[in-house]
Symmetry: C2
Subunit: 444 residues, 2 copies
């Protein structure tokens, strides 16, 4: 057992291989949800595990006191897959602590961050102080697959979940020690496309030249998605994009995250993307069409002279205000169908989606959050940013519960979320525990 | 044990999983070579297993009689990989006989065909007849990976291998019962390309838009290889291509293998390829750039929002007279390097290659072969064709040993060579056994 009981809790939570996208990990998902519910019960919360058609949702609340504001803290206990596994320096579900850095899948995204809030509450209660607000914890297990069952859950529990503001720590900090308030998020829309040419794999010598090769057709089809700069060529794609405001561009220029930092963080040979925008602006406020995977034919060692029957690709769009995921998916499908020749069959499966989000950082809750951030981080002035990632549920919270969300992230730029060797500094974990206490006081 | 001893031999040979491209199958390669050598010894041949830096070569010969012509019969005991394994109706290395059809990896390509020659010799000897020619069997284990060590072996054993003509049964028949003489083959040249963007997989939300995605770049790069018709756009690619002669086009028009047959055989939604050529002409006498495999990013179930570090593709060119594989590979590498942006690193590995082959079907050996084919197949008139596949060693035989090769194939159009459910009819196996006997008499 780790001598620090807070780290002991975190390591226990990280050992669950709660990969929501992979059905093989279902038992670990159940076990992880049960652990979170049990932890909340120990703090005197009334704690329930709600089954869904997918993975369960953990809901925990204190008996409400009239007159106090109600705050809902959201987090997710599911994590991304771990492959390519061989690139991990330590097994992804055996947390490793070295030089103050915890390495494990989920360390940053999102177990370390939501647990910091739970442990902040524990510290408050352990000190004999009453919580300054009514508190609800909503910890789901399907964030990494687009929260398919959370909207219905919110609708069903609308009254029970009534609150004044929502808090999520699932975003990033600009730099170590620089507290960061995220007032915008990109949305997402996913699809997968499958091309079938011949009805079986063919000998590429015997038949090559007489029929279309699905890999070749796929490459050409995917090539129609972008221009040379990486600008998306789907008709109508940019028509709803809200341009950056000048105060944002000015503020972001001052952030310690310029083009050279992005170049170093990504380890790419060069930056790329639309002319007229800095790398940060491209990530925060410009939409993309990103190929997440491609597959076809023989991928083993050596050569196999096959003309394959099938080829496929996985594609996600990142969207910005005021793009609508449904419209984008429709435009994308139409574009792909129009550009696909009749020499192959095209099948498209649309996947999860979520709207982009933007809120005024200068409203009263925003100001309270910024004060709490400054106190939790040695009185440093918080940075105001948008973020390139997506938390689709934020837009749903606004729609269903009618409240804004405060995004107070603790992830560092090199946290490797979704990548091998995901990590989270102990310092950020502890700052998160402090932040919870400052924040609930400020919001009260 | 199969009651038919010839089928028993074939099934035994097919049970060796002799996949030359996969190092895991090395022991099966050794065992398969040993079985072939032992079989030849039993027929009274002096039989040797020659090790190479790769897989061994089996050489077997009868003590030569002066004054007789010398015939060399070539075959290969190695086979293609079996994936996708789940599409096989029976395990690929457990031969299955149903309705006169043998299903197994290697049944057609090439175990069934070279064994027919061995068993033809066995029948001749068993009948108490002397062989009409001096005979050499050369059975190698690296045909499916481009015969990398056979040219050096031929050079080293040039005198021992001196012969008048070479016979190979590793090509196809136009239709069941229609004996087929192949007077031309396409050549081959292989390469693999790897693109690296970021030095690790990135979160496609956090960084997407600021750096190039290697899958997107790969798709665009591969898209430069062809025009809309499938014509190769590499500069200089067609400059050495010999145009079809009119007698060939006339002869091929009469073959029972028109566009509609090709469409049915491939199971494609439509035929494709260069304008001005029939499907058969495209396969027999036009060059291609065929993508055999593509890989990158997340390929598992569900979504993973990753901007991958790497993407790769496997590419083989099929070449026709008088294209030179070395020049084509050089042109291809130059084309790919010129079209690859600097936002990714490009690495190219060139693979095996072999020259195209063309011989006059009307020379004396060609005429002898056509007579033997007619006798083995109920006096049907043999078809004269080229073939789209590659047997690079045929060009090497001509260069090193100075002799022509007779290509007398027994594979049917729907044999599924290189694909799941590769098969070979017992009737063709038996015809091959007859053919060997007719052929050696005619060649004498």
């Amino acid at each position: 057992m780790n001598p620090d009981p807070q780290l002991h809790d975190l390591f226990t939570l990280l050992r669950f291989s709660s990969i929501s996208t992979d059905p093989a990990h279902q038992p670990q998902m159940q076990a992880c949800a049960a652990w979170v519910a049990e932890k909340m019960s120990c703090l005197g919360f009334s704690s329930t595990i709600h089954p869904t058609p997918g993975h369960p949702i953990v809901l925990a609340r204190k008996k409400p006191s009239p007159g106090k504001k109600t705050v809902l803290i959201y987090g997710h206990y599911d994590v991304q897959p771990v492959d390519p596994l061989h690139l991990w320096t330590h097994p992804p579900f055996e947390p490793h602590l070295e030089n103050g850095i915890i390495t494990a899948r989920g360390a940053t995204d999102n177990k370390g961050q939501f647990l910091a809030h739970i442990l902040g509450v524990q510290e408050t209660l352990d000190s004999g102080t009453e919580l300054p607000v009514n508190l609800i914890f909503l910890i789901e297990g399907e964030e990494e697959i687009g929260s398919p069952h959370l909207p219905a859950f919110l609708e069903q529990h609308r009254e029970e979940l009534a609150c004044d503001v929502i808090v999520i720590s699932d975003t990033g900090m600009i730099a170590p020690g620089l507290p960061t308030f995220t007032y915008g998020l990109r949305g997402i829309a996913a699809l997968e496309l499958f091309l079938t040419g011949p009805d079986k794999d063919l000998h590429s010598g015997i038949y090559g030249g007489a029929v279309a090769n699905p890999i070749t057709v796929l490459a050409r089809l995917l090539g129609t998605l972008h221009d040379e700069q990486g600008r998306v060529r789907i008709p109508g794609f940019y028509s709803q994009v809200r341009e950056l405001q000048s105060w944002e561009r000015e503020a972001w220029k001052k952030l310690p995250l310029g083009d050279s930092d992005l170049l170093q963080l990504t380890g790419s040979p060069a930056l790329a993307g639309e002319d007229g925008y800095s790398a940060l602006e491209r990530c925060y406020a410009r939409p993309t069409a990103e190929l997440n995977g491609i597959s076809g034919g023989y991928q083993g060692e050596g050569t196999k002279t096959v003309l394959p029957s099938r080829a496929s690709a996985k594609l996600t769009f990142r969207l910005v205000p005021d793009q609508d995921p449904d419209i984008i998916l429709e435009q994308a499908c139409q574009h792909l169908r129009e550009h696909c020749p009749r020499t192959v069959h095209l099948e498209i499966k649309t996947g999860h989606s979520g709207k982009p989000y933007l809120v005024d950082p200068h409203n009263p809750y925003g100001q309270a959050a910024q004060r709490a951030l400054a106190r939790a981080f040695d009185h440093a002035e918080p940075a105001l940013i948008r973020e390139g990632g997506s938390i689709p549920i934020v837009a749903t919270f606004k729609e269903v519960l009618g409240v804004d969300t405060l995004l107070l992230g603790l992830a560092l730029p090199d946290c490797r979320a979704h990548s091998p060797n995901e990590n989270f500094p102990v310092a950020n974990f502890k700052a998160g525990i402090r932040l919870n206490q400052e924040l609930l006081r400020e919001l009260a």
